[in-house]
């Protein structure tokens, strides 16, 4: 044991340099005023109507995005399991492939698709339908975050579902369960660890994102992330930006703790 502890040295250094110290700096900014005095104002400013509204909107986007990702990923994952597509790796590869491309680029592609003269409206026009105006709305942001984070839901859910023993599912069917009952009574509970890590990996980044809303929201809609970004880059109010960040961090931690407490069989999920 002791002989190998030195191997962890680089990681300890990494954690101290890139996690612990930045956190201390952020907390220091969050709890001080511009002149260095202690204050709680930066944290409590989240209850300012403007900030609170952005928080609620972020929550709507994050919860909506997580739910849509769950609904989209289960049928896909079950189909992959049934067709044994995961075995050959092709299906998973196709899902992972877009993640290797820069995410800003992919979001800008959505901007092209959704814009008034974009690809979507071109197709609709060809089909003789009325053009849609999705660009710069909450719908556009939702499409963007779902597209961006869906793979993070599919992968852990697939891993969990693929591990379920076929015998168990067959036993359920033998005992008279229909496919819906089998899903809710067998597959869903058994894939819970994967689902929970999927929720964490989708909920957290969609809650704190700001790039997607910036590009697809046309600057008309603000998530908490946008306000924090603006405080740092434009208003030069790092204390307020840090205060909002700390609030968001604690908020996410609490909601995650709440989610993970319901982990039915107490199995460690892959993320935590």
């Amino acid at each position: 044991m002791n002989k190998r502890t030195w191997l962890s040295f680089p990681y300890v250094l990494w954690i101290i340099g890139f996690t612990v110290i930045p956190l201390i700096v952020i907390f220091r900014y969050a709890f001080t005023t511009g002149d260095g005095g202690f204050t709680l104002e930066n944290i409590l400013t989240i209850f300012d109507p403007i900030h609170f509204k952005a928080l609620v909107f972020s929550l709507e986007i994050a919860v909506g995005c997580t739910l849509i990702c769950i609904i989209l990923s289960y049928p896909l994952v079950l189909a992959m399991r049934r067709l044994k597509m995961g075995k050959s790796g092709v299906a998973l590869f196709i899902i992972i492939l877009p993640m290797w491309m820069n995410s800003i680029l992919r979001i800008m592609a959505w901007q092209m698709i959704l814009s008034p003269n974009g690809i979507l409206n071109l197709i609709l026009e060809k089909l003789g339908m009325k053009p849609l105006s999705i660009a710069n709305t909450a719908t556009a942001i939702m499409i963007g975050v779902v597209y961006d984070y869906l793979p993070y839901m599919i992968l852990p859910v697939y891993n969990a579902v693929a591990e379920i023993n076929e015998d168990i599912i067959e036993a359920a069917k033998d005992l008279g369960a229909g496919s819906i009952t089998t899903f809710f009574k067998v597959i869903l509970p058994l894939s819970m660890p994967g689902l929970l890590s999927g929720i964490v990996m989708v909920f957290v980044p969609s809650m704190t994102s700001f790039v997607v809303s910036d590009v697809l929201g046309g600057g008309k809609l603000q998530l908490v992330g946008n306000i924090i970004e603006q405080e740092f880059t434009k208003s030069a109010n790092w204390n307020l930006g840090s205060g909002l960040s700390v609030f968001l961090m604690v908020f996410v931690m609490i909601s995650m703790a709440f989610t993970l407490k319901n982990d039915v069989d107490g199995k460690e999920s892959t993320v935590w």
């Binding site: 800003i104 800008m108 590009v215 046309g218 008309k220 603000q222 946008n226 603006q230 880059t233």
Partner: protein
């Protein structure tokens, strides 16, 4: 967003280059200076040429807006030698003592800058002691002549609902309030909160009609036909007209903003000589022309203005008529209270 990507790529590149060059120590440079500028605001060849001619290496950094440039500069993690920003931000930096005094006589090419621009620069650098003009321009409306019904000569088209959902506003605080304040007949440098509140009501009412708030992408959206018109910087307006012949540029009759971007050398710079060499280089006829062609804003250098062809000289975005620049205002640095007040209004507007 585009520029942030470019910025990121550039910083990675700079880091890689820095590591490589210090690591191997193959190439020896006379000196190294760090330059800070807006994105897409210099012809990249110019910097290479400078290094070739003088042996001075240039580390180049970018920021998209004056506010972001200021924040990054003030963060203090990089020692900048030379930086370029806009009038009101220059005024703020000069007030804070961030710039070194320059002896213009040491930079012989600065003589090619017409008096008109030195006078203009006095609005933020009263004695022309700290800054050297780089580009200047106005803010106007870039519009698609095939889509508008009626003349575009007033900010009114952005507020009367006629083009609801078809126009783009600048996603930059000062420019957004400038439009509303001038439309209401107030100064864009007002410190009067009642006037700002009135502008805010106007902008809040306008928001439903705004297609998007953009900065760099605004031009492309009009060029691509996604929007009918946008509030735009004159240089982007000029380039837009180059890309799409149906576009035209208007300076609203209520008056607009005329701005100037200038270079200053930081007071703490340890490479002032080299930085001055670059400043002098940028004012040289051929280099100024190269940058003008790349950037598309109006240059203060005499020879550049003489060299323009007739079409360019007649272009309202490149060469605004004198009566328009006379009625236009330059941004002043607002007091800390007014800036904070405007920040709050802006946040409210964007969150609504």
């Amino acid at each position: 967003m585009k520029k942030r990507g470019v910025c990121l790529c550039l910083s990675v590149l700079i880091l890689a280059v820095a590591l490589l060059s210090t690591g191997c120590g193959k190439k020896e440079y006379e000196d190294t200076i760090t330059v800070f500028n807006y994105g897409m605001y210099i012809d990249p060849d110019v910097l290479d040429q400078f290094t070739e001619e003088t042996g001075i290496k240039v580390n180049y950094e970018e920021a998209p807006t004056p506010e972001e440039l200021y924040t990054k500069y003030k963060a203090g993690s990089i020692d900048y030698d030379l930086l370029c920003t806009s009038d009101y931000m220059l005024e703020k930096l000069i007030e804070e003592g961030e710039f070194a005094e320059l002896n213009m006589a040491d930079m012989e090419n600065t003589q090619y800058i017409d008096d008109r621009y030195w006078n203009f620069a006095k609005s933020f650098d009263p004695e022309n002691k700290y800054t050297v003009p780089y580009f200047w321009g106005t803010v106007g409306i870039l519009y698609d002549t095939t889509k508008v019904h009626g003349p575009i000569d007033s900010w009114d088209v952005l507020f009367n609902g006629e083009y609801a959902g078809e126009f783009i506003m600048q996603n930059s605080m000062r420019d957004a309030y400038m439009v509303a304040l001038r439309y209401l007949g107030y100064s864009m440098n007002t410190e009067n909160t009642a006037e700002l509140d009135e502008a805010q009501q106007l902008l809040l009412a306008q928001k439903d009609d705004v297609q998007a708030y953009l900065v760099d992408e605004a031009r492309d959206e009009v060029v691509a036909g996604n929007a009918t018109m946008t509030v735009i910087y004159s240089g982007d307006g000029y380039l837009g007209m180059e890309y799409n012949e149906n576009l035209d540029f208007a300076l609203p009759k209520e008056g607009t903003n005329v701005w100037m971007d200038s270079w200053g050398i930081t007071a703490d710079s340890k490479h002032k000589e080299s930085a001055m060499k670059l400043l002098n280089f940028l004012c040289r006829e051929d280099i100024a022309w190269k940058n003008f062609e790349y950037v598309g804003y109006s240059s203060p250098i005499d020879q550049v203005n003489e060299k323009m062809d007739d079409a360019q000289k007649a272009n309202k975005a490149l060469c605004p008529p004198e009566e328009d620049t006379e009625s236009a205002e330059v941004y002043k640095n607002l007091s800390a209270e007014t800036t904070a007040y405007m920040n709050d209004l802006w946040k409210e507007l964007k969150a609504e």
